[in-house]
Symmetry: C2
DNA sequence: TGAAACTATTCGGTGTTGCTAGGTACCAGT
DNA sequence: ACTGGTACCTAGCAACACCGAATAGTTTCA
């Protein structure tokens, strides 16, 4: 993984996961697979699980344990009301940053 | 400072500073002031200086000490060849991330 | 039977980063 | 002397993503 992407993911990965969960509940393995499919090819598995633990502790998600047909039971995460609020905030912050970056990029020097 | 913005700045702040320096050489105090003017209102001074030390150690910038009429001498930073390469990489990484985030935002769930 | 291979989660240790909260130094005006 | 603006530096902290590995259940196929 490039050092730059690793650093940029700090903060944004959480928003990405919240955004995914705003569409439908999902479990860790599924989220990891989705990320890989969307081009976040080499996000470490462990990273996603650690992130899920964090946002659970913060009350951004609700968790249900669901038996799996294959393998050990899944922990299915869904967005809580607090999570929805945080996601809103995340997008605002993202837009703020993206606007400034875009201006900078277009040679506003 | 919001926790979210703090985390998102990790990785992007370095790119922002490199982008500023790609336009013209500048010293730390000046960069800080510019950032504040552009809406990064509460980026700590110490943060900028620490960042400058880092990118100098990595050879991304050249430094010249210039006496100031007011106050202690300035350290004027200018982008090196390596810095220019890094900035290019930074923008590529940024575009990669921004594209994916935008898709996610438009309800591609 | 046994060993891959896939599903699914967890954890300890590491490095990088921005923030906090100071400090130093130099000069001008009061 | 003192305040305020300019200009830089630093130690200690918290948060985050990564790495590498371990654990556990199920299916597949030799």
């Amino acid at each position: 993984m490039s050092r730059q992407l690793t650093e940029m993911l700090k903060g944004t990965l959480e928003g990405v996961v919240l955004a995914i969960l705003s569409g439908r509940p999902a479990h860790g393995y599924e989220i990891t697979a989705w990320l890989r499919a969307q081009g976040f090819a080499d996000i470490a598995e462990g990273t996603v699980y650690a992130l899920l633990v964090r946002i659970e502790r913060r009350g951004l998600v609700d968790v249900r344990k669901v038996p799996s047909e294959k393998g050990p039971p899944r922990k299915v995460y869904s967005l809580s009301a607090q999570g929805r609020k945080d996601l809103d905030e995340f997008w605002k912050t993202w837009v703020f940053l993206a606007e400034r970056l875009q201006r900078l990029r277009k040679g506003d020097k």
